[in-house]
Amino acid sequence: MKAAVDKGLRTGVIFGIVIVVMFLIGFTVTGAELVGKLFGVSTPSNTMPSLSFFALFMILMGTWTGTIAAQHPLVEADTWKRALTAGISAGAFSGLLAAVIGFLFGGLNSSKIDPRTYLPSISPESIKMFLFGQTSLVGSLMIFALLTFSALAGASLSYFLRSNNGLKSGTSAATNSISAVMRSERMTSLLQNKYARYVMMLVFAAILLILPRTWGSYWNYVFGTVGIYIILGLGLNIITGWAGQLVIGYVAFFAVGAYTFSLLTAPEPHHLMLNFWVALGLGVLAAGISGLLIGLPILNLRGDYLAIVTLGFAEIIRIMLKSDLMTAYTAGPRGIRDIAGPTLFGKSFISDVDFMYLIIIAVLVVTFLANRLQNSRTGKAWYAINLDETVARATGINAFASKLLALSLSAAVAGLAGALFASRNQFTGPDDHALMVSINVICLVIVGGIGNIPGIFLGAFALKGLPEILRETESYRLLIFGVLLIVMMRLRPEGFLPAKRPKLEKNSGKEA
């Protein structure tokens, strides 16, 4: 029994800290808003969400606490008494922490001290909400009770489900279900049926053709960005996902592509006004060459160094672009404007619909490229280097040349994305090429599924698409990324859609 209380203590303290931090960063308000959204109620800005939504949010947190605390123990027998004890103690400890904080801040409210001088995310209204609109004492008691009992409920629920179904954990069930659906026997056999494939491709093509015309320029912009990030993800995947060399400054190649393209097509500062396609090709080439040049001296050093050098390189580029020194060549901090849009046979097709088509085509091309590379001799060499470079070398792979190729190709793909990005916005400046872009791409590749093409699609949609839908979480986006990276490396480093090796022996019979 003592162990149960211990588990409850640990879980409760952790969740208590999480709830307190959530309160301090204002996420309690956002959480309540999200809950409201689930019920179709949107909270207008500058108003607090309804108290019942907040209560529901806290109940959810409490239930989760209880579920974790009541998890099947390894040392003790799994009895309902143990589960409930763990649950209620977890709830009590987390409730205690929340109550104390609530009480303290309630006191601040009564003394009319505004916490926003030092903690700008907490407003007097958010404190009031945290205390359910009651006085400090009553409010803190209420939150204590709420958390305690919802944890108890969560614990009983999970124990009940466990003893009847053998269901292990909700979180793993969720993540496995996506992979399960994609890998199920029916799905795979369906995918292999020739006719089914053709039909699916036709349907898919139809969707791709029709949607951009119908959903309006806002969504074209959003999904255009998603498309560009898919391209970036596929590019980073080559050097980091397959060849296993971490690159932090990936945005450097994005910048080379964007700026080469822009400088060649914009009226100022150089007035070269090259053809869109020529400039695009040159942008890709320039990016690829920059990858080659960086790789030459660094790639036979240890893997970590490439990551740092690219970081340094990316920052150097950004600072130099922003400085006045290079303004004569690169238009300085104001950026380059009036970059050309694409033209086909003289006719410019610059509408957002047409550009969306262009991005879709680019995505398809890069995906095709990536797919062919993945299972080729070159792709296998990359993966071998990733798994065990020494042995890869001993089997005859020139690791240096192979890695150099991977980096150059990755850089070239980034250049493509950069040029397209600049062309679509008809503008590019040093702030478009901040480190954040690199971090976004790393996140989407890792979270989606490292080394796996469908995973990258998933990651890009989640990373760029979801925030549009969940507008409320805008300010917390990066925090969630950070947590996601840490948690996923611990629990599921291969990503949501892990890469799977092809079944070559089984299929060899069919082809022969």
């Binding site: 020194l325 950070g482 611990r490």
Partner: protein, 368 residues
Amino acid sequence: MDKPTSTPAPGKLRLGRYLRSFAGILAGLFLLWRLYTALIVDQQFGADTWVRFALSGLILGGMYALIAIGYTLVYGIMFMINFAHGEVMMLGAFGCFFTFEALRFIPAPTLAIPDLNFLDAHPILSVILAFAVGISVSATAGYFLEKIAYRPLRKAPRLILLITAIGASIFLQNLAMLLFGPQRKNVVNPELLDRGAGWTVIVSGNPVLISYTGIFSLVLSAVLMIGLYVLVQRTKLGRAMRAVALDKNTASLMGVDVDNVISKTFIISGALAGAAGVMWAIHMGLVNHYTGFLPGIKAFTAAVMGGIGNIPGAMLGGMLLGVIEAVGPAALGIDFQLKDVIAFSILVLVLIVRPSGILGEKLSEEKL
């Protein structure tokens, strides 16, 4: 069977070695040209300005050195780059800020000055408190970082560890931003340590200020560096740390509690970063969530420059980088806007020309 293929022609690998030295010579010549132009031809700055630059460089260098030691300690013991180390320093700086703010609101009236606050009344005590708080916060952060994020991944491939470190860095940065707001906070020093106060020295006819905060930071940095060196070379813990850095398994067979030593290493590296953070807050005066980012990367550059894994190297690299960064833009005739470029360029250059650093990297040969 096929005949043996002929010996492959000397490829890029052979060329690479000469490429390195060639790049080094090129860079060296470029630097010499810029130095010549700036120092001999233009002569824009007088000796007093140089002294001012050198001084601020040394002070900055001391802080970089402390942070760099943290990187090198962790790398030596776990072969990972602790990307979140800059954020650990930032937390220390915040610790100092909040301590000063809190002490400012405690009234300590005297007969002469009725509205005196604690901070100004007891400056020395306040500073000590600030350091205590800052160092504790950072050390604790380092401890939990290791315990929660890195320890479970001890056996994982390096890529995973690096990504976790990046995740931790992003997390801490954004947590600080959400908690404390993105605005930079002004650190109000006790009156005694006012940023403008100090001794004045006349150099070639012009006054040069040697600020109290600056000297204080420099002296404290030196003390901490010496302290750390003694710790690593002379104490039992230091011996254990060196053993674990050389060969984890053997050390554990010899009775060293490896987990404990690694924990303590993170605590120490965090403490040093925290001290640097407090110094930063006192001397530079502005703190926000982003404060740790640039110094973090620069300190890492310093560690690599000195030879990663090498503690005296980190100290040397830190001091050197500080001075180069302060003196560099003027000496090379480059715009001051580009001063960060200097640090990054050094990083790239060092890795290209001499990746083992000035004092050499402690590598363990990969065993088959």
